[in-house]
Symmetry: C2
Subunit: 196 residues, 2 copies
């Protein structure tokens, strides 16, 4: 629903871009607040052009395929501004790992622990990547434009989010490891008497 606005925000703050540029930017840092696949981005660009929020210009390139560069129109910028002023609700949470926790008594404890270790690693890796971005882009805070400072605040949210995940994994792993030691290891409920 807000993919259109995420694209508009990027075109306005980062300037005219090709679909490919946008996809790269989504992968690099936009995904820390709005994830989108390349298929979604290309489709949305066509929608936005049809509605007149962006305009397309074909850049002829020799030796490699032509590219289409999109720019936000005045209409697009006005529409984005108006959308920002509308109140918005938090994203609904959908975390499959928590479903696994809830029904965790169905599987052996070591399997649950393994899954948590894996998730901790994913979030720790992403956290490092975001901290890297933070130190690269925001090394000299005095020199930052308003736009960059606002960008920084959204990056902070990404860093906090990933830190929180790592902290929860650590907290939870400590509890589960303690259960392991105490030999509370649950027996899986897999009905071993059944063949199929």
């Amino acid at each position: 629903m807000a993919l259109a606005q995420a694209i508009m925000a990027s075109l306005i703050t980062e300037g005219p871009s090709s679909g490919y540029d946008l996809v790269k930017r989504f992968d690099e840092y936009i995904s820390c607040y709005w994830m989108a696949s390349h298929q979604q981005v290309y489709r949305e660009l066509r929608n936005l052009e049809r509605q007149g929020w962006i305009s397309a210009e074909t850049i002829v390139q020799t030796g490699r395929p032509n590219k289409t560069v999109y720019s936000a129109t005045d209409l697009g910028e006005q529409q984005l501004s108006a959308w920002i002023l509308l109140p918005s609700e938090p994203t609904p949470i959908r975390e499959s790992l928590m479903i696994k926790m809830k029904a965790g008594h169905l599987v052996p404890l070591p399997d649950l622990i393994q899954e948590l270790v894996y998730r901790r690693q994913l979030h720790a890796t992403n956290l490092n990547r975001l901290k890297q971005l933070e130190s690269e882009t925001f090394a000299q805070p005095a020199a930052l434009s308003l736009s960059l400072r606002l960008h920084y605040l959204s990056l902070r949210r990404g860093i906090r989010y990933e830190s929180e995940w790592v902290a929860w994994c650590d907290e939870t792993l400590e509890v589960l490891n303690h259960w392991s030691d105490a030999d509370l290891n649950p027996q899986p409920n897999l009905e071993p008497s059944q063949e199929q």
Copy 2:
């Protein structure tokens, strides 16, 4: 994708339930890890019954509409166990508020601040609700079953998540209020020369 598993997990840990019971449970605490509307729940229950993961029993009630109570079948429990053992990725993040931050220079700073104050309040309210649940259900930790202890861990994640949101809002509001004081208030880019 995992709505089916969220329902199965609830039927297995909380026992046979009607669609309405499940919807209430989603509203009460499942939503802190998996949000679902009543329409989704009812549709998914029909799918699950068709696939044999759950079985339905009609309870005839006098004076009020009959209800259908669903129970997990052995097949359903096995399928859920197998699914838990599959590795899973984090949910893609989609936070429209961060898009607003990114393009925040397009609107007056007080409007951005107002939106943040509103969001802080939403998360603070939800945090209090979850803490309430925590203190109600987990007052006597010694008496808890394995299943309830696992439930508690997922509730902890919800509490951490909402705390983190409140903390980010506070951090960000402090920065923005400071800008306000310093008279860095950006002028909106709304092209006042245009009539339409």
